[in-house]
Symmetry: C2
Subunit: 469 residues, 2 copies
């Protein structure tokens, strides 16, 4: 494709996306495709001859869109939001157009330096500690996901802990994201060595006293405790672990504290929410939050910061001859390949940079505020309806609730809640997901898509009440 | 940013990229930036108020481009190519615009089903075995990089091998990509347990007899051999390991055979190069190749196939409540989250699909043919000049060579070759990289950027001869 053809088709694709975004509300939120529908609508064999780009766009409408669940739909309330935005999409487009590979500084200095700059910007915007800045012993890096970031943190923690050949342990709670257990498996820990700390029955927050007991018992047993993961805003219910008290235990025991704030961390852009990071500056060895969830930056863009980058680099650096270069040898530059699992890397900083510049701190705060305000309003509606039970804590954009189902056993009530959920999602009018807390299935209403307005939240509440009958 | 603003700025970005690609030849290939140049050209602090998108584009020209090494430049001959192309960029743009998250089938069926389809298409185009198709016990998946793909293969291999708590071993050669050693470290193997098999001094291919000896000795020593990595087209010199003979050893010893064809694998799209995969159908448990290197699909797009997906899924699957859904429970669908390290995933299939449709099998073959033909022509020029020594084997687009430096010791000759390389790269006219084989520094001329024509290769050869003096 020549640059001139690219110019022509590129504009058609931009129009296609603008039209898609402008008309997204007319589509069912959750795809109504059945397994195999999309594939069977497309040719089973690749074309021998090239085809006009119009064919691709036509098949996009005909075969692909019916199989798409519209994460940017204003009535998408499932999981957590996966925000996209114009400036993010355009930053990503610039990255694709430049087609550079930032594995080391020398292979495209701008890719590394803009990344260091924007992760420092974001640290400042979120009020994160000076020690996370790239001009300190620590620094930040963009990863694909919090799963990968947590794996990198674990590998750094294992490096710092030492004790190779001995049993090494990691501490999470029942509410910690499954990616930590996955990271433990990947790093070769035995299943039982990712230890589950008790949580408070009501808040679902990790119990620091139990953490301390577990670590003491494991140490007495000859184990080497490597990492504790505290979560700010769990995936299930946005519970907040007591980072400061967990940090005190970690400090006393010499264990790495990793803070998973994948969803909620970006909300600290609002000064009144800075309290969520209490203890981070003093105790956190690593911290991850995902602009690709709630900060208007399309997937994938997860930022990991470390207070000390050295053990990570020791854990991950290998230098073959074909990557040696003068800049790396000088020690004056960052080579981000040693800050991640893969070697190659996209120029992801462009999209976060575009987003921060287009919206400014003001615009980003406004976006987060709006999600929280709508969640508060939704929660108040649920609380005011006696047929529903509201989970009280909802500091962010997620509201968990369930119908009371008077007279039903827990099992029957759970089945009825899941059936209600399926009916709602089948309607195509909105999309919710669910979780389980203390044995009860809860509906999860996660507000935060950029297109979501008050009317969509109110319409969702009407649909839920109507469907309950 | 509203859809209408996106329409406006999107077209400007498309124009910017078209202009960039059309004028790329006027820029120095390798960035001439010094450490800190890019960052110091940008504001140290994030903006409080939003800025017009024009400011982003202006800073792109002013501050970012001087720090970019132009991987799409026709005179970029370093490392391996990182092909981009119009349809790939547009496929990626569509992915960003849709903003879906394909972690499980249910979160966007099209994301999973188009991916299964295009990796099956690619398997067919490359003549890979039926057992790699997604309707078999195996299947294919798009990863970010071959590093991640090889890590996934290793985790599956460790799962199949069992022997937790015992010493487990992996077999590579001195020419294997460093990502395998990194994968071993990540998976918690001790450094010495990634074992180096001897290579043939001339071909640099792995010695299957030595592999068999090493495995036998390790087994006698109580170790559990988990994986052998054979490479088709090593990063250093594109050496080809004897896959069939290595496979015979693996079969006899019950060890997982992983084939790393990251760069060269896509060349099998040309029927006359199918021989490179001899033994893959019979013996390979996993196989990776990167369309983002030489197959016109912009980074990141690496395809991993497995002959049996079960041990990978056993190794990587964890199912929290909030991801449970009817489609997954039915067993009728693929949930690609269990085929990779991260949980979340982009709709990467769109770009590979766009590329295959726009170019067709014919166009893709033509692209690979062109790179090989230019490499052959370049190699003939080197061979004909007695001041240079050519590395004879160059089955793909990479040619390795060096000045003879009569009268210089090996150390002095190496230093002189590296100095020549720096002078060439400093000129901005072309960009080469280097490697070392049998103690000698070699220049690597990797041909395969879509914009590279005969004139660029001839100009590079002139520059090299001129600079040698």
């Amino acid at each position: 494709m020549t640059p001139e053809e690219f110019r022509e088709y590129g504009k058609r694709v931009v129009d296609w996306i603008a039209d898609y975004l402008a008309s997204i509300e007319s589509r069912p939120v959750r795809s109504q495709a059945k397994p195999g529908d999309v594939r069977s609508a497309l040719p089973e064999r690749p074309p021998e001859e090239g085809e006009p780009f119009e064919h691709v766009l036509a098949d996009l409408d005909r075969a692909i869109l019916p199989g798409v669940t519209h994460w940017q739909h204003p009535s998408f309330f499932a999981y957590f939001p996966a925000n996209a935005s114009g400036p993010a999409i355009l930053g990503d487009l610039l990255s694709s157009g430049l087609g550079v590979q930032g594995m080391v500084w020398a292979t495209s200095p701008a890719c590394t330096e803009l990344e260091s700059l924007v992760v420092d910007w974001l640290a400042e915007l979120l009020g994160l500690p000076q020690g996370f800045r790239t001009d300190s012993a620590g620094g930040g890096v963009i990863q694909d996901t919090a799963s990968s970031a947590s794996l990198v943190a674990l590998l750094a923690a294992l490096r710092r802990a030492g004790g190779e050949g001995r049993r090494r342990t990691v501490y999470v709670s029942s509410q910690t994201h499954s990616s930590l257990e996955k990271a433990g498996r990947i790093a070769g820990l035995a299943a039982g060595d990712v230890r589950a700390v008790n949580v408070d029955e009501h808040t679902l927050a990790m119990d620091p006293a139990h953490l301390d007991e577990l670590i003491a018992a494991d140490v007495a047993d000859g184990a080497v405790p490597a990492l504790v993961c505290a979560t700010i805003g769990t995936t299930s219910t946005t519970a907040i672990d007591p980072v400061r008290r967990i940090g005190e235990v970690c400090r006393a025991r010499g264990v790495w504290l990793h803070v998973d704030a994948a969803y909620a961390g970006v909300s600290a852009i609002c000064p009144e929410l800075r309290w969520i990071n209490d203890g981070v500056a003093e105790y956190a060895d690593s911290y991850v939050t995902n602009p690709h969830k709630w900060l208007l930056t399309n997937f994938d863009c997860s930022v990991l910061w470390l207070a000390d980058r050295a053990p990570m680099i020791e854990a991950l650096s290998i230098l073959p001859e074909y990557l040696r270069n003068a800049a790396s040898a000088s020690g004056e530059v960052i080579d981000y390949r040693d800050w991640q699992i893969p070697l190659g890397r996209r120029f992801r900083a462009l999209k976060l940079w575009s987003v921060i510049r287009w919206y400014g701190a003001e615009g980003l705060r406004e976006h987060v505020h709006k999600g929280i305000a709508l969640a508060d309003e939704f929660a108040a509606l649920v609380a005011a309806d006696e047929r529903f039970e509201l989970r009280q804590d909802h500091p962010f954009g997620l509201v968990c609730f369930r119908p009371r189902w008077p007279g039903l056993s827990t099992a029957d009530a759970n089945a009825a809640t899941l059936a209600l959920l399926e009916r709602l999602n089948d309607s195509g009018d909105l999309y919710l997901s669910h979780t389980k807390a203390n044995g009860n299935v809860l509906l999860r209403m996660a507000i935060g898509a950029p297109a979501t307005e008050r009317e969509h939240v109110l319409a969702a509440w009407s649909a839920i009440r109507r469907e309950l009958g």
